[in-house]
């Protein structure tokens, strides 16, 4: 064996005055970092495999543990940073592409943080949401051009299928397979509890979850795993997944080890076989083809379910979005380059796609210009981190947002980015039974519901501050936004003025 150049990224610091050798850390680390030495009556750590997930830190009953960045320095070099070099060592060793989990961590600008919200003073009084009604209800789906009524005042316009949400926040697609059944169950329960939707992802839907149908979006992706008529009709809406923000242009690959009995049954593939989603849908090479799929799905569901189409935010997003709207989709979903994932090639994750803020502003603008904004709802995803991001997204033109990373963080994810190893210590991105049982849906669904409730409260506060009493009245209201530290061009694309203007 030749020398392995990889060095640990982290150091485990154990306060020996506090360590009682209870071995909780030993038992809880799926990466086998901690070991107990009986002879020395001491717990030792081999940090090579430490991913800094904090499981041991939080479980340690005496708070004896801390994890630090490894102190090993490389000679300072602004160009050849430690991570740049380590990646080369790894690839030189393995000859493989680098994989990562979760979203793009690079220090690209975060436009949410370069936009500020307005508030009312004197002339347009603000509203106190604790005393006055404040509407956060959102209706997703095509809105007819006009509505007509008969003489008795009954509406004669036939309404297209729509979905009503009690808050503009939905849980984004995370498939059973990439995440555990318990994680899936937590999302489903929380969605039901808070009056919103969760998304099956591309892994099909376990029959046990059919009871959450009213709160479910069923996804149809290029692998068509687990897609059948019953599945399509099981949810409240169908989402065609064309692309994903973390890996635009790339398919998916669920390794055979994760395809156990249940995953195999829901995906309708043999146990132990790799589940490969091709990069494109092999029946979609044009907007016309997409239209065919949209209408096949509508046909299969009696035109009762809105059809979403999800794309990654890429350079020509506006033109694509326009095409999607014209192809008959009810909702367009755009996923920015910070969107999370279970596994993506690192290079793609870190270098492909565009920020969701810019894509959203551009698409909303384009659809308005074309006069078809009312024909679709716009849902955005790709690192919505808090309620202010939600409010800003709505002001930029979104109907609602999807949260993925924020949801998994609420579930306990510590962004160790090792989802693809299948050893998630928090029971989220894993199928290993001993790890999955760490996630108790009873606790975790409450955490998720709490998060949605908390954000919704905050949204109400911010709306009230702006003197607005319904989220609908904020949609596309870019006057409520001001840029800070942005260039002329960025302001132009976002369609907002600079602070002070």
């Amino acid at each position: 064996m030749s020398l392995n150049f990889n060095v640990p990224e982290f150091m485990v610091e154990r306060n020996e005055d506090r360590c009682i050798q209870c071995e909780v850390c030993v038992r809880q680390c799926a990466n086998e970092v901690h070991t107990y030495d009986e002879e020395d009556n001491k717990v030792y750590a081999d940090e090579t495999n430490c991913v800094n997930c904090h499981r041991c830190v939080l479980m340690c009953p005496t708070r004896a543990l801390s994890i630090k960045k490894h102190s090993l320095e490389f000679r300072e070099n602004a160009n050849w940073t430690a991570s740049a070099m380590n990646e080369i060592y790894k690839q030189a060793q393995t000859g493989g592409i680098l994989l990562s989990g979760m979203g793009n961590p690079k220090p690209y600008p975060i436009y949410w943080d370069r936009m500020l919200l307005n508030a009312s003073q004197v002339t347009n009084p603000s509203i106190d949401p604790l005393r006055e009604p404040m509407e956060t209800k959102v209706i997703l789906g095509r809105k007819p051009e006009k509505v007509t009524f008969d003489e008795d005042g009954n509406m004669t316009t036939k309404m297209p299928p729509q979905i009503e949400l009690s808050t503009p926040i939905l849980f984004s697609a995370m498939s059973f397979g990439s995440i555990s059944k318990n994680a899936h169950a937590s999302l489903a329960r929380a969605a039901r509890e808070t009056g919103t939707l969760y998304n099956t992802g591309e892994g099909g839907l376990n029959k046990e979850f059919y009871e959450f149908g009213k709160n479910t979006i069923v996804q149809v992706a290029s692998g068509r795993f687990g897609v059948h008529k019953e599945y399509l009709n099981a949810g409240a809406a169908i989402e065609i997944k064309i692309g994903q923000g973390a890996k635009p242009g790339i398919g998916g690959h669920l390794p055979g080890e994760k395809v156990g009995e249940e995953v195999s049954a829901t995906r309708m593939i043999p146990e132990g076989s790799d589940a490969i989603s091709p990069a494109p849908h092999h029946d979609i090479y044009s907007i016309e083809d997409l239209r065919q799929l949209i209408y096949s799905l509508k046909e299969a569901t009696d035109y009762k379910k809105p059809v979403f189409v999800k794309i990654a935010a890429v350079h020509n997003a506006p033109a694509i979005a326009s095409g999607i709207a014209r192809a008959g989709a009810d909702v367009i979903v755009m996923d920015g380059y910070r969107g999370g994932t279970g596994a993506a090639p690192t290079r793609v994750r870190d270098n492909v796609g565009i920020p969701i803020e810019l894509a959203l502003a551009a698409v909303d603008q384009r659809l308005r210009e074309e006069g078809i904004r009312n024909e679709v709802s716009l849902l955005v995803a790709g690192s919505v981190r808090n309620s202010a991001d939600v409010v800003k997204a709505v002001a930029l033109g979104a109907d609602a947002v999807y949260i993925g990373s924020a949801a998994v963080i609420a579930m306990g994810c510590h962004m160790c980015q090792k989802c693809y190893t299948g050893k998630c210590n928090w029971g989220i991105a894993t199928q290993r039974e001993d790890l999955v049982k760490r996630l108790n849906p009873e606790i975790v669904s409450t955490r998720l519901a709490n998060l949605i409730r908390a954000w919704t409260h905050e949204i109400k506060e911010m709306l009230g501050g702006m003197g607005i009493n319904a989220i609908d009245s904020l949609r596309g209201n870019r006057l409520m936004l001001r840029g800070i530290g942005l260039s002329e061009k960025e302001l132009e694309i976002l369609g907002i003025n600079h602070a002070g203007e």
Binding site: R18, I20, C22, R27, P61, V436, K437
Partner: protein, 149 residues
Amino acid sequence: MKRVYANETYCVGCKLCEIHCAVAHSESKDIIKAYKKEKIKPMPRIVVEDDMPISFALQCRHCEDAPCIKACITGAMQKGEQTGIVTNEENRCVGCWTCILVCPFGAIVRNEQGKKVAAKCDLCAEIEDTPACVKNCPNEALKYEEEGE
């Protein structure tokens, strides 16, 4: 009566219940002192059986018709008239282990540090209103409730 019920589906096998049980029954009731300073090593009265992915915690079921009480040769093992809690009066116990012979759950442990006595779960009745194991289970895999709740 209220008992501790284990839900093995969500037991993560961390054994924090054992540790906190041991501390709750230690001299100082301080986790670090109990493990590092006390002469009598802290001793849990709950056991986690595990063979991952199966794991569950088990302690005295406080049987209505407790075999250990009937078998106890000294009369040390008793059931609280009001509480229903089965406790061992340690100063009368001689450590003959007849209770271990008859407890169908294997819920009694030998404490042979110092005077031999049978140690068992007392539902932390003298310390807290919620047993330490339940309070410190990180995944709510232990519940303290009336039967059938």
